[in-house]
């Protein structure tokens, strides 16, 4: 089974799942699965990403096909929710409770045995600190977000669904949470994170699922997805001295489709980024060109996403 949309030991699976509201088809025939590690869920606004997340949690029922969380449809066997933590995008906090009370409430509902210990641990993990005993109504967006993450983590869930978890947080908090989610992924939990800030998703996740207009647009590791876009050659920016000699020599390579030369800067188009990465050092040594920079310009998740949406 080498379909990148599926994983070996899936904990969350969608099988030909669709959802429509009246005439509007929000999600159509999506088959994919999520397993241990961090998976990025991407898609433009209105592409069905939020609907899919709601289906994964069992909040809404698929109009067709099936959704399995740890092998069951959660709504009819809610006991599986002991292992699911959700950080929803909308407000989703009780304004009249303090953060500590809110997290304690989550722990109690999730059936945690030692509520106090779990609450304290969760609040420490998100470094909420002193304001933990202030009412949530007075919280800034960033602090409310961390309270919601703490509430999702308190029951030590195996599956974590994060909808725009970094919304409103400042750079220090962002990095702290990114490292946290990465660590949870490496611990073998299934972390599904949906975010619009792609370089952060790229850093957090080891694979992505992209949804465009309700359909599965791409799945798997970013580099592999980019490679699969054989119709779009890679663009690489190279800085080197004696760049014209290097450019002429590179043109002789079969894998190079084209080179444009600027003073000291080459823009090379190639079908195979890895091969170019191997040839350039050798070729540069032959012509004794001093290469000071070799940067792919459209291999990042952002470029991949732009090509996907424009298809």
């Amino acid at each position: 089974m080498n379909d990148p949309a599926l994983v070996e030991s899936p904990t969350v699976e969608l099988d030909d799942a669709s959802k429509w509201f009246g005439q509007k088809v929000a999600v159509s025939n999506v088959t994919c699965s999520f397993g241990p590690g961090v998976t990025g869920l991407l898609g433009p606004n209105g592409a069905g990403k939020t609907t899919m997340l709601r289906m994964l949690t069992g909040l809404i029922r698929p109009s067709q096909g099936s959704v399995r969380v740890l092998g069951v449809w959660p709504r009819t066997s809610p006991s599986v929710y002991a292992d699911v933590g959700l950080v929803p995008e909308e407000a989703a906090v009780y304004p009249s409770l303090t953060a500590r009370e809110f997290v304690r409430y989550a722990a109690t509902l999730a059936g945690v045995t030692d509520v106090d210990e779990a609450t304290a641990r969760a609040i420490d993990t998100v470094a909420l600190g002193e304001p933990a005993d202030r009412k949530l109504s007075g919280y800034s967006k960033g602090m409310r977000q961390r309270a919601k993450v703490a509430a999702a983590l308190v029951s030590d869930p195996q599956i974590l669904l994060l909808d725009e978890p970094l919304n409103g947080t400042d750079p220090v908090q962002r990095l702290h949470l990114i490292n946290l989610f990465q660590r949870l992924g490496t611990e073998g939990r299934t972390v599904i994170v949906s975010s619009h800030i792609l370089d952060e998703v790229d850093r957090m996740s080891d694979r992505v699922i992209a949804i465009v207009d309700g359909r599965l647009a791409a799945a798997g590791d970013v580099a592999a997805i980019r490679e699969a876009m054989t119709d779009i050659p890679y663009r690489v920016r190279i800085e080197a001295d004696s760049e014209r000699v290097l450019a002429a020599r590179l043109l002789e390579e079969a894998l190079v489709h084209g080179v444009s030369v600027d003073d000291g800067i080459l823009h090379v188009e190639t079908g195979d980024l890895a091969a170019l990465g191997r040839r350039v050092p050798a070729v540069a040594r032959e012509v004794d060109a001093r290469v000071t920079s070799f940067q792919p310009e459209d291999a990042s998740l952002e470029s991949v996403f732009r090509y996907l949406v424009r298809r």
Binding site: G277, E302, R306
Partner: protein, 302 residues
């Protein structure tokens, strides 16, 4: 556009009662695109409010485009635009009517206001939605309308507070591109954002605040450390590392990513030759760039 600094501060301080929001702030910011970064509560919003003349500093002074922010508030305000982070759009009128109104608020006569509003709305990408009431707008369309009202009167300087908040990737891309083009329109920019990557992509100067103090105010360019090479290796990274060490380089490896530095030879040549000789490839290579994030964390930790 002379080279005189567009924004200056001299021992600027402000305290709300016992809470000190800004303390001893000094800077001279050159024309161009300036990124304002800082943790929550570092004083970013307070600074913007002082520059807009909304708040009066308790000590010190600040100037905007040569005018004192407090005493010449009206002169400042007729030359700047402001994109607030919070919701600020009236919901019951169309975007077109609102942007014309915003132009009038900047003192433009009726015909000029109508003409410029139409140009600016096209520029920010609100072609046909502009004639619909703002009530039904998506976050993306609201952010574009906010930007339109900030530049409709062709200001010399525009303050942007979290301009990409709530946008999807395509919306973010277009907003960042618009911000980068503002320089070409002859408009200076002070953009405040929590996403450091956005600042790196659009700004050429960064003002970093922490706990109400200036942590750093300098150009973004020289954050690059020219004599250390960062290379991501394809293939056997260890062999390449060994080869480099044999050639007398110091190598700091984390997985496929190597940081190579030498005191004697030229590190770039060493890396090139090491890769060529071991037959390994590179995914990316270049001078070690300390990202804004590294500077930020190392600063705010200390």
């Amino acid at each position: 556009m002379s080279e005189a600094p567009i924004l200056t501060a001299r021992d600027l301080g402000l305290a709300y009662g016992s809470i000190v929001a800004l303390h001893g702030v000094e800077f001279d910011l050159p024309p161009g695109r300036i990124g304002l970064v800082g943790a929550n509560g570092a004083g970013k919003t307070t600074l913007i409010k002082i520059l807009l003349g909304i708040l009066k500093p308790t000590i010190g002074s600040a100037t905007v485009l040569g005018f004192d922010a407090t005493t010449d508030m009206l002169d400042v305000r007729s030359r700047i635009g402001y994109l607030p982070e919070s919701d600020c759009l009236p919901l019951d009128i169309t975007a077109a009517n609102f942007v014309v109104y915003a132009a009038g608020l900047a003192g433009l006569p009726a015909n000029a206001a109508r003409q410029r509003a139409s140009d600016v709305l096209t520029l920010v990408g609100l072609e046909e939605e502009r004639f619909r009431p703002i009530e039904g707008f998506s976050t993306g369309m609201k952010q574009r309308t906010k930007l339109a009202q900030a530049i409709v009167h062709d200001p010399e300087l525009v303050f942007l507070d979290e301009p990409t908040a709530g946008l999807d990737p395509e919306g973010r891309e277009e907003m960042l591109e618009l911000i980068s083009r503002l320089g070409g329109f002859g408009i200076n920019v002070l953009v405040s954002s929590h996403v450091l990557g956005d600042i790196e992509r659009t700004c050429d100067w960064v003002l970093m605040l922490d706990g109400g103090r200036v942590l750093r105010s300098g150009p973004l360019s020289h954050l690059v450390d020219a004599d250390v090479v960062a290379v991501e290796v394809i293939g056997d990274a260890d062999r390449v590392a060994q080869h480099l060490i044999a050639a007398g380089a110091a190598v700091d490896a984390t997985g496929p990513r190597l940081l190579v530095s030498t005191t004697t030879d030229d590190p770039f040549r060493l890396v090139r030759d090491a890769l060529a000789e071991t037959g390994a490839g590179m995914r990316s290579m270049g001078p070690k760039a300390t990202t804004l994030e590294d500077v930020f964390l190392e600063g705010s930790e200390s």
